[in-house]
Amino acid sequence: MALISRWKADFPVFTQSDQPLYYLDSAASSLVPKVVADASYQYLLNEHANSHRGFYPLSAQLTQRIEDIRAQVANFINAPSADNIIFNSGTTAGIHLVANGLNRLKSGSGNIVISAAEHHANLLPWQQIAENSDIELRVVPLAASGQVDMPMLERLIDDNTLIVAVTHLSNVLGVENPIASIGKLTRQHGAFLLVDGAQFAAHGKVNVQALGCDFYVFSGHKLYSGHGSGVLFASDVAIAELAPVVLGGGMVNSVSVSDSAWATGVRKFEAGTLNAQAIIALSAGLSYLKQAEAEGAHTYLAELTQFTLDKLSAFGGINIYSVQQSKPQSIISFNLERVHSHDVAMVLAEHHIAVRAGHHCAQPLHHCLGVGSTVRISLGLYNQAEDIEQLLVGLETCRQLFIAR
């Protein structure tokens, strides 16, 4: 089993300086392959315009291109149509649109169900609704598997549940939730299901129809596409109940000083100038990812994750919070016993290793784990056994500096 990445050479950052880089923080943001940077550069140099506005070719062709990419994105997650795809700036922005735009959440009563593993982006908006109304926020605990506790979920969802909002893949534990089962349960109670796909989208095939979700959100920058793009999938039923939240140019049919009428279709959720550069980069990133998947990326990363888990277990003195799964999902959080995660991250940084330490914007989950913070490593296409070996060297230094004497 040669755990050498066939994709690493696609990423110029690794050869840009004489300093090595062991990047184990793809869950924060994945690095950008040359092909994506090139598409962005090309756009900025020769194709930049304001889309959806002009009759001249630079703008009209860009409009067409963006609408084609909408179809590509729909295809990427198996959405019924491009008319279910709303472009925005990221997962946080997408959840903001749903939490503030759904009519039923303005009723002021009922309940919202989330899990204990949610990223703050999928916690705080619901928490705020609960604070400002009689809507109750119900938090489903996790089972020993790290997944949403299904019996508990069954108990907490009822016919007054307005929406269930859960992560597809935990950004701390790397555990995948049984979304299709959750979707079935949600539908039985007439609730909407929002899935935070920020982490999963890079690691598995998404099929929003099979999942049975009403909303699916993710960010381009975790999909090898650089910053600025986000996707909100909304089913037809969901769109029918969603009011625009951000208001501005390009989303109205007619406006007078006293009254306005929204445009039809998804464009009404995209007020203001669209970030065409980010959308074009997203397109290039999705194509790149799809190609890598065809070349076996998922299997490779699962193997590399397992290799990492094995090495960390063998190292000793490490608490691993990610539960062993049949298909390990590229994210592992742990602590070196008696050493603070931030100290570990600093020492690793001195070894040119990039990891994340802290609560990873999931403080409630850390509370459940009984720790204030963890060290997280997360894998991308460029990673290989060498990165993990260097990680172990770094951890050995930590041990010597902070423990062994």
Binding site: H340, M346, V347, F402
Partner: protein, 140 residues
């Protein structure tokens, strides 16, 4: 070996001075660094305007712990108002990236490197900020 975690700092981390909250005290305060997750409790006993005992405890990173250890080492048997002015200087010095041993003396040298890591300076400041809370409570 490590730019930040030099021997002197690690020595404080491993054998911290004042890491024992079981003291008689006049003020006890807790501090929290949300960026880092550090939590610390500082206790101070003051008699006739002089710190007679000072101690800390908490779940914190090596920088915070070493800084707390230096604080306990340096402030014991120090006039309370003078201690407050040392805390002020240290906190400001870390903010403006000054050399702490030049500013406050060689005992503070272990923290010199911290100033180059703005993200970690907060960790070194936390014990001193918590001490300032004690001062606010007890000040004449």
């Amino acid at each position: 070996m490590s730019a930040l975690y030099q021997q002197a700092l690690l020595a404080h981390h491993q054998s911290p001075v004042g890491f024992n909250l079981d003291i008689k005290f006049d003020s006890a305060k807790s501090g929290h660094n949300p960026a880092c997750g550090d939590e610390i409790t500082v206790k101070v006993a003051v008699t006739d305007g002089v710190i007679t005992d000072i101690a800390f405890e908490g779940d914190s990173c090596a920088i915070c712990r070493a800084s707390a250890s230096i604080m306990c080492e340096q402030l014991k048997v120090t006039p309370f108002t003078q201690a407050k002015s040392i805390a002020d200087k240290l906190i400001a010095g870390l903010e403006s990236k000054e050399n702490l041993s030049e500013l406050l003396g060689d005992s503070y040298a272990p923290l010199n490197a911290v100033a180059s890591f703005p993200i970690r300076a907060q960790c070194a400041q936390l014990p001193w900020q918590t001490f300032q809370l004690c001062f606010e409570e007890l000040k004449p």
